[in-house]
Amino acid sequence: MSNQHRTATKSTTRFAQAAIEELGWWRSHRFLILRRLSQLGVLSLFAIGPFFGLWLFKGNLSSSLLLDIIPLSDPLVTLQVLTSGHWPELSLLLGAIILVGIYALLGGRVFCSWVCPVNIITDVASWARRKLSLPRTSEIPQNLRYYMLTLVLILPIATGFTVWEWVNPVPIVYRALLFGASSGLWVLVVIFLLDTFVVERAWCSHLCPTGALFSLVGKISPIKIAAVRADACNNCMDCFSVCPERQVLKPVLKKGSTQPLILDSNCTLCGRCIDVCAPRVFQYENRFKSKYSNRIPLKVES
């Protein structure tokens, strides 16, 4: 009964209808699919070790060893170890430096949208909100994540151990799958409920200290999304409803904006705005290309 009603409304108000008609299904879901493949791909690269004995990556997102040579480690957990007063082995520090280098090159929060498994859960929560047309409820400040980051780095000083790692949701999925430690998954259930029913995009866009750290790393990244055809924008607001960090879109879509690059490092470079935009306003750009490099970005913008 209500099902019929729902399909009726769905056909008239299907999300990003214009983009699907204009660009086709693949072009309008391209980066979503590629991102899911990337997220599951990285997880698989870790999982083929313990499950099939093909050791490409050892360890998990906290710290890993690529091909038994290259160390990679999460900068957040490395900083926590340092603030707790322990001087780690060189490989952990080196791993953190390599990883920061990689993400500084690719765009810091690329980690969030292309690697982090929690993103799948929060994206589903956001999709559920849209489907159920849940009203926007309480708002919390976007910069709360930097307070979280500070807290996470101060707690080891105060207590002497890496407190955040007890509940850090980012490595939990990997630990559950690779090491059978699945009882930590309740943290993800809490995040899903929080994102769906309490605050829209609460975890990834307001609270996560890992994302906050990667957004700082991404400030120097060359890869940005640019509104190259901002004048073609028809104000359909599809990009705003799909963007996990919609505040970053405002400066480039504002009337009379001369700056097409989204320089706010909280942009996760997920590319969903490119997908859902029928007039093809957005695309990935290199910030240092000659047409952008003749001006120094103001502090205000980043």
Binding site: G49, P50, W55, K58, G59, N60, S62, S63, S64, L65, P71, S73, D74, V77, T78, V81, S84, G85, H86, W87, P88, E89, S91, L92, G95, P141, N143, L144, Y147, M148, T150, L151, I154, L155, P156, A158, T159, G160, F161, T162, V163, W164, E165, W166, V167, P171, R175, L178, F179, G180, A181, S182, S183, G184, W186, L298, K299, V300
Partner: protein
Amino acid sequence: MSKANSKSASVSGINRRQFLATTAKASCVMGMVGLGLTTVATQSRQLDPFAIRPPGALAEDDFLSACVRCGLCVEACPYDTLKLARWFEGAATGTPYFTARTIPCEMCDDIPCVKACPSGSLDHKLDNIDDAKMGIAVLIDEKNCLNYRGLRCDVCYRVCPLIDKAITLELQRNEKSGHHAMFLPTINPDVCTGCGKCEHACVTEQAVIKVLPSHIALGKSAAHDTYQHTEETTLEMLNKGLSL
């Protein structure tokens, strides 16, 4: 500069009062979150007595500050001995441990778990596995030990990788029969590595010999105890005023 500042203020629509209010609120929230997290962490950091850390592990407090919970030691272990702890079980979430009764440490000569550790929570200075101090075996239940009943079980003694050093059989007259000996397994805590092979092999339904973390297994004499080196302590030293 000041122009840019005032511009930024008007762009994001934040004035000083709002800024201070938000900062104060956020700090309060963070304070509470911090308290909550610390409580959760301190409540669950007590190590289960049967959860034994891998070889070379730092003292528990230092270990919890160093371990990044990456599981590289677990994947390096060729015998599937090590596990990463789950929530509310054994050890602090995600940290490595093993249960000797299930799979003991096989004491690999090359110590792959320590080599794999990127954080140094397993001390890389450990180069001889015989120096490891994962725990101390304790013959905790003499009543049910077959050797204490006068039998020759000896399994714990036989499986010990440091046989005759970490576990010895001490002869004692068997008063029950009057003309037999009892061979009592006796652990030397200075040598025992805590690998747990004795606990694993113990034939009784519940092991009578168990590996316990050193801080549970060992007592500690007080710092002012003058009799701690009794054999080296001479009468002159005692008379002199005990500057040991």
